[in-house]
Each structure stands twice: as structure tokens, then as C-alpha cells.
Symmetry: C2
Subunit: 224 residues, 2 copies
């Protein structure tokens, strides 16, 4: 994604302070803000892809910068650390999750839950689900101090947790299971190694893999 060929290049002359203040300022600020946001989005997207591919520890900031096509020092003007970059990637997928959850058509709570898990697994198979190690303490600290991350996680958990309780109340999910355990089990499908193993086997399409794991998750391995 390049920002060199802009339709507004003709406005790049120096402006007096008066001109800036009276009329040009709002436009320029908006334009620059857009460019800034677009570039940051490009950085986050590259980081997200590399996090999905290699994981946090094996991903290097050099790779992200090279992928975006900027210098590493420039990247550090946008994100203060590798951890903050990873956090931004997580916030991005949580935003995508918020959008997805908001556009889900009405259905019974069990189908809603299945749709969410299906969406997470498709994201992982597409290489767009960043995988962060739960063991890295500096990363955990950064995430726990990131309001956007915590808010996004809470929003998703509230929504999904509500469906879990409804499904249990309606007898669609096993009511003996603690709701929090169900939530964790669903979230864990976003980084389930079985998906990758089956994909490496090459015997099944992505859709088949998703439905297979979805089935074992909700219905178990035992005959019904």
C-alpha cells in the first residue's frame, strides 16, 4: 500500500499560519490523520499476519517493517514496543469480532455460538488470527494495561457469555458445565493445533476441517 500518489499532491505548497488557521487546517489535519491511520493499519495488518504465521516470539520487528516497506525506526514512531504492536493486532481482531458479532442474524443461542467458533477457526485457517503465547509475562503485562484490548475482550465475552447462559438455560448446552469453562473452550478453538495438523495432512478442505472440529467441540468424540 503506497501513499506517494495522492490526488491532493497539488496542495503541498507551504502555507502561512493564517491560511492554515482559517481554512486549510481542518482539511490538512484530516488528510494527515487519514494517512497516519492508514499506515498504522498497514503495520498492524502485517504484524497480525506474521503473528499468525510465526507467533510472537519468532516474529521480529524487522520482518514487520520489511513487510510494510518502511524502516524499523519509523515503525517505532507508531508503536512503542513489540508488545504494543502485538496488542494492536489483538485489538484489531477484537474489533473485527465486534463487527462480526453485531451483524450476526438472530438465531438460537447455540447456533450463535457455533457461528462464532466457525468464524474464529476460519480466521485461523486463513492465517489472520494472531497467536500470542500465554506464557510471556511482558506481553501479558502490556495487554492487561491496554484499555482497548480489555474493552474489546470484555465486550466479546459478555456477548458470548450471554449466549452460553441462555443455551444452558434452554438445555441446548450441558448446564452442569461452568459457563467460564465453556467460554475458555470456545476461545481455545481460535488457536487449536488440530486445525493446522489436519491442514498439513492435506486430506481435507478448510470447510471440512472447520466442520469436523466444530463437531468434536460441541458434540464430542463419542457416538451419539
Amino acid at each position: 500500500m503506497s501513499f506517494n500518489s495522492t490526488p491532493r499532491a497539488g496542495r503541498r505548497q507551504p502555507l502561512t499560519a493564517a491560511t492554515r488557521d482559517v481554512q486549510a487546517a481542518p482539511v490538512r489535519v484530516s488528510f494527515k490523520t487519514q494517512m497516519l491511520k492508514a499506515r498504522e493499519d498497514a503495520i498492524v495488518q502485517a504484524a497480525s499476519r506474521l503473528l499468525a504465521e510465526k507467533g510472537f516470539d519468532l516474529m521480529t520487528v524487522d520482518q514487520v517493517a520489511a513487510d510494510v516497506g518502511i524502516a524499523k525506526a519509523s515503525l517505532y514512531k507508531h508503536f512503542s514496543s513489540k508488545e504494543a504492536l502485538a496488542a494492536a493486532a489483538m485489538v484489531q481482531v477484537l474489533d473485527r469480532a465486534r463487527t462480526f458479532l453485531a451483524t450476526l442474524p438472530d438465531a438460537n443461542p447455540l447456533d450463535q455460538l457455533k457461528a462464532v467458533v466457525r468464524w474464529m477457526m476460519q480466521l485461523q485457517l486463513a492465517g489472520e488470527m494472531p497467536s500470542l503465547p500465554s506464557q510471556n509475562s511482558s506481553l501479558r503485562a502490556t495487554l492487561m494495561n491496554n484499555k482497548a484490548y480489555l474493552d474489546g475482550l470484555m465486550a466479546a465475552s459478555d456477548r458470548i457469555g450471554g449466549w452460553i447462559e441462555q443455551a444452558q438455560a434452554q438445555g441446548l448446552l450441558n448446564p452442569k458445565l461452568p459457563a467460564i469453562a465453556v467460554l475458555y473452550t470456545l476461545y481455545a478453538r481460535a488457536c487449536d493445533p488440530v486445525l493446522d495438523f489436519l491442514k498439513m495432512g492435506g486430506q481435507h478442505s478448510d470447510e471440512q476441517i472447520v466442520e469436523l472440529v466444530l463437531g468434536t467441540c460441541f458434540d464430542g468424540l463419542v457416538s451419539r
Copy 2:
């Protein structure tokens, strides 16, 4: 584990070549071999514990050496690389698995499978199950060139795979599921993040966590 206070310390005098050859040699060789193996076991055990605690990427060879109480250079006399050390840790748990599988009392194949998964999860909760990232390619290469690892993995997979097929033939497991997918799903319980999350929650004992996850694995989340 220290090797400094040995009951054979009195034999530490220099020996002439003749003495070594005639009578001391066989004893000394055996003793030295025992010491060597014991020290290597200590290294592997420390590595295994640290791998379970921090994972491969965050574990450092310095930590392993410090944990054992030897210099890093000494460790490298036993294992040629960090990857080889991790492989040895995996071989160790595969050996433990072989022993466990061999001593399982006869039962129907489904109960055998449940016993295996229970054992793996108990090992993880006890902090004795090394966790290796499936993404690290240099580690994968080392593992795939390690005969002991491949043999151990094959032995376990054959045994467990046999039970899976029997269980499916008897209608105890869903026969529509590919056996290999079932095998992966069971193996994945050894590194299931849900175990750690539930443990961190502090609401359940290890036994409760194991039975909870065992239940969702085999019976699913849905009401039966």
C-alpha cells in the same frame, strides 16, 4: 541432584594403568557410565520442567544449566544444541508414556483412551509436560531427524490408534470421524490452554479440571 558426596569417594586415588586394566576398569567404566546417565537425566529433567513452564522459545540454555548446577559449556558436551535438548525432553516423556501404556489394566478401548488423556492432562497440570511450538522449523527438523523421538511417537500412536479404531468399530466413538483427527484431538489435550486458564481461576482442583476437560473432550459441550 548433586554428585559430590558419593559413597565411593575413597576410590578417587589415581590408578595405574595396570590396576585399571586388571580389576578396576570394569567397575570404573560402569560407575562413570552411571554418573553420566544420571547427570544427563538431571539435565533433561530440568529442561523438561522449564519447557513446561516457559515453553521452548522463552527457555534459555543458561537457565537449564543453572538449574542443574553446571556450566553451560558442560551441558553442550551432552547435548549439541538447544533443539537436541528439547528433543531429549520429548523422548523422556514418550518413554514415560510407553511405560504408562504398558501398565494400563485391560479395559474397553474407550476407557483406555480416557485413561491416556487423563494421564497427559495430569502431567501438564503437574508442570511436567514440555510444550514445544509447532511453528519453529529448526525444532521440527531436529525432531524429525531424531530416531528415538520418532520411534516413541510411532509406538504411542500405534497403540492409541488401535484403541481408536476398536472404539469406533464397537460404536463407542463416532465412526464418522477420521481416526487421525481423533488422535490429534486427544494429543492436543496435552497442551490444552483451557487447563491453565481454569487452574489460574482457582475455582477448581486439578482433579476437577481434568474431569471437566475430559468430559467436554469426549462428550462435547452439548446436552446429552
